[in-house]
Symmetry: C2
Subunit: 350 residues, 2 copies
């Protein structure tokens, strides 16, 4: 497609953006498996107009590399493939994305063979969304869940201190000839970045977002950042977040959000912990009891859409289609930042 400059916007094809982001990571000293995998999820975020997981994230990744909290040269390896339904990948201190790409084909194979299977990623830095993981499963006709801890900035319901992470949870269901049904959300009411936005704007937070360091409800962004965020859905969301600590932290032999923050010492870098992905083969589960499960799901989705409710991720899919057809548009400032990152690598960090 070539680069086109339209007024103040710069247009790139998805492949061009992928190449540029990968080049920036190569320049910063990442090996090819790390740079490629990271560039793929960042480009996917930008393509889907999911700006908070797009090129904006490059700087954070580079800072985590510079702080030596992630190994830019890590080569993930399958560390356990013996259990029939479990694949374990040791990210060896690198980013989760490269580890996921290594484990995926094994996970797909084991899921199709056994009906369900799990991919454990240990010792990784996870800093992107989880929808790329569940979408990778739906691409293979599988359903899946993904979850991971983060760092402890969320208070358990009824408590007074941060212990849980914003612990994202994602789910995907494959659809024939359509973008999959996918949701991916933080188990906190709001993301930490959202509180930061209120702080910069000098605005008070909505009620129910946070507590101060004494454990009292607060709408003051500074007090909230010094205190803790609340889980979504009160004790129910808190329970789900706790489940994620247990399953995707402790059960897989990796760090909880509290341990990840203790190790990292700051919330401004990406944390090191584990990740858990569960995959399910709809055909194996349905056993064709009531015909094709994917067809039955379409009837169900239609009843959601028909009443004016929206399926999640639709905005992303519309943006994706536009990007695939018309390219990705970056602001002049974004493009210049990306060029700087390509040219200077780690030295691009302000």
């Amino acid at each position: 497609m070539g680069i086109q400059i339209m007024s103040d916007e710069i247009k790139l094809s998805v492949a061009e953006l992928q190449n540029r982001v990968e080049a920036a990571f190569n320049k910063a000293g990442l090996n090819s498996v790390q740079a490629g995998a990271l560039a793929r999820v960042i480009t996917a975020g930008e393509r889907d107009n999911c700006k908070s997981h797009g090129i904006y994230r490059i700087d954070g990744a580079l800072r985590t590399v510079q702080a030596k909290k992630v190994d830019p040269q890590a080569v993930p390896e399958i560390s356990d493939n013996e259990r029939p339904a479990i694949v374990r990948v040791n990210a060896n201190g690198g980013f989760a994305n490269a580890a996921f790409e290594l484990g995926l084909p094994h996970l797909v194979e084991k899921t199709k063979k056994n009906g369900l299977a799990a991919l454990i990623i240990n010792n990784c830095t996870h800093f992107s969304a989880l929808w790329p993981e569940v979408e990778a499963l739906t691409d293979h006709g599988l359903s899946g869940m993904a979850m991971c801890p983060s760092y402890s900035t969320v208070v358990p319901a009824g408590g007074t201190k941060p212990l849980l992470g914003t612990n994202p949870f994602a789910f995907g269901w494959p659809r024939e000839n359509k973008s999959p049904y996918v949701f991916d959300f933080a188990t906190s009411v709001a993301a930490r970045g959202e509180i930061e936005i209120y702080r910069r704007a000098g605005k008070q937070l909505p009620e129910g977002w946070a507590i101060d360091s004494d454990g009292n409800p607060t709408t003051d962004p500074d007090a909230a950042l010094a205190g803790a965020m609340l889980p979504f859905g009160e004790h129910k969301g808190s329970a789900i977040s706790t489940m994620i600590e247990l399953m995707a932290g402790i059960m897989i032999g990796d760090l909880t959000s509290k341990e990840a923050l203790d190790f990292l010492g700051t919330t401004s870098l990406a944390p090191n912990h584990g990740e858990l992905i569960l995959a399910f083969c709809p055909e194996a589960f349905s056993g064709s009891r009531r015909g094709n499960a994917l067809a039955a799901a379409e009837v169900f989705f239609q009843s959601i859409v028909d009443q004016g409710s929206r399926l999640p991720s639709q905005r992303r899919y519309i943006a994706r289609e536009q990007a695939n057809q018309n390219g990705i548009f970056l602001s002049k400032q974004e493009f210049e930042q990306l060029e700087k990152q390509q040219e200077l690598g780690l030295d691009s960090i302000n």
Copy 2:
């Protein structure tokens, strides 16, 4: 222990209550696998002072039998045990509880062998809580999730009509020499029974519980019952409830909540659909990477308790310990109703 009458309360041992409830179901024409399994969960509910799932439920079970919406003579059978990590039990139109008891040992065996496994229950009537299922797994040192549809009384976020069920979700984690970590909740803000309580008391509902039949927010219990309940946690809870329809309805080749209600024609009887239980072997998942996962979980639980937050199910466990030591106390009215059920079976229904 023998029966003791203390003022107006009648005391029974847990075993005595189990025998009486089982006798009532036998009298109503249930075969021994159905009566025994049902009596075990109802007795457990009463023992744990979880009154909404205790002997109060006998009448509803009998009504569902009388309406011929459940087969009192059903013998569940393993219908598919071929997939390495899946056990499928056909409840053959009986209650889920008997089917679960049949499938459990196979699920435990497959989980220990493969690392994780699934138990699918098809064609069952589920009307008890889900914590008995996940507690049965924790008794074997396994972690687990359980979920099922119900009948469509909940609106998807942003919609106007009931489509989702109150779709319960339960999770359990085993603890050594302690009652397990277990949560079990409806994915609606409130249970339908709670709205009924407000209606009878002539009170307005809290905001955010329900919409009327035009899709507008309402605090009027009658309008809410004619309309729909809201999912907990807005779009996030709605997404989880949708996942339950997909996984524990469609994926397992069974009915969605909407289909279950269409089949049943009323919300006053227990619905027929399926149930999904996922089990995980913590040792297989942790691979002893960071020592014993159960021990690590205790450190995490302590950080919850230390800050004044409560672990879920603790009230149930305290009630259980008291019941095991001192017996279960029924009101005179409850005891007389139970005697009537024992004597008359289906004819006890008013």
